[in-house]
Point group: C2
Chain length 217, copies 2
């Protein structure tokens, strides 16, 4: 059963790979599973057919026959449980990899998203400099803690896992801020992950989709 994902018809990141469909595309590429993508416009995302799939009006969704899932983290976990390659076989190691998935999404991503939103929406406010300083400090604390745990290891816990996939996806949202580069081992971790053929294929696919959407094709 070849699944269908939804993704932005025209991603606000201009194909930089920061939209959350990228995480699921990357997982599918790592696992060697083919998939289809149905683009959704911003207007359609708030309409009943899409809300039936995704109650919060987000992308991506995942449809395979009668099965409909939302939340990129849940979709990545589902795929990692179904096909070998993104979770260790040993039960304790598997659970540690899943722990890193939750850490990426519930501990590391929220302050990074908050910072991105301030950069986008508060840049012209008189309080921007003061707020950005506080937001940067929160992100920097998380990065320092992550770098301390990673040390000189290639991945967070043994081999590359769904935990690394989500953690790197989250770190990439810091883009050109230079905050990851302040930790050479974290910068190397991100470079190591994005050099993987699965990441490269997923990135190329979402960029091509953006270019088709932009051109109104």
């Amino acid at each position: 059963m070849r699944p269908t994902l939804t993704a932005f018809e025209c991603s606000p990141d201009r194909g930089q790979g920061l939209a959350r469909d990228m995480r699921v595309r990357w997982a599918l590429e790592e696992l060697g599973q083919p998939y289809d993508v149905r683009p959704v416009s911003f207007a359609a995302m708030k309409q009943p057919p899409h809300l039936a799939r995704s109650p919060f009006g987000q992308i991506p969704t995942y449809e395979a026959g009668d099965q409909v899932l939302f939340e990129s983290g849940a979709i990545v976990l589902h795929l990692a449980e179904r096909y070998p390659g993104l979770l260790p076989a040993d039960a304790d190691a598997r659970m540690r990899a899943i722990t890193w998935m939750f850490a990426a999404l519930n501990t590391v991503e929220p302050p990074i998203v908050e910072r991105s939103m301030a950069v986008l929406f508060e840049r012209d406010q008189p309080w921007y400099a003061q707020r950005l300083e506080a937001l940067d400090a929160r992100v920097q604390q998380r990065l320092a803690q992550l770098a301390a745990r990673l040390g000189d290891d290639p991945w967070l816990d043994g081999g590359f896992s769904a935990g690394d996939l989500l953690m790197v996806s989250v770190l990439l949202r810091l883009g050109s801020s230079g905050m990851v580069d302040a930790h050479p081992t974290l910068a190397a971790y991100v470079a190591r992950a994005t050099a993987r053929p699965g990441y490269q294929r997923a990135f190329a696919a979402q960029l091509a989709a953006y270019e088709r959407g932009r051109d109104g094709a």
Copy 2:
């Protein structure tokens, strides 16, 4: 193997049950599993022994023999996979419940935490009123979407699950803001969940722990 959790020695919420150990206590009570709690001071949370368990210096952690986990979402999932009661047996229904866990932690909780942090730390800033308005709007959108999906159902998808446990835990962080009460079906959902004996036992246990910590016992 009776597990040991860590929790705040003296919770900043004064025993209101908002600290993240509450989620794990509640899951353990729903599943009928005994546990021990080791309180940790704020100073100890930032020291190497605790950071070895919890790289971001947070509570709760979960220790059972050689197994050490952090991230309350991951710990709840681990328990729900191990003991019957918080995840449906059917594979698709199980995955939908897990999807709600991710939705609670990655879509609904972040704007709620952000609002709480502004209330705590930006109350005296000249921009507070304007920021609070924007933060409230983000939370209200999520609550409206959640209420629309819940409708008149008792739980998010079939029977009470780990997804409801985390979603209600997240909604409780809105405390006395009145935002949940603006949606009577959501208020009833939270009341239904917190009336469960498992919630009541977990709440009483963390309140007693707070009172011991406060008294320096």
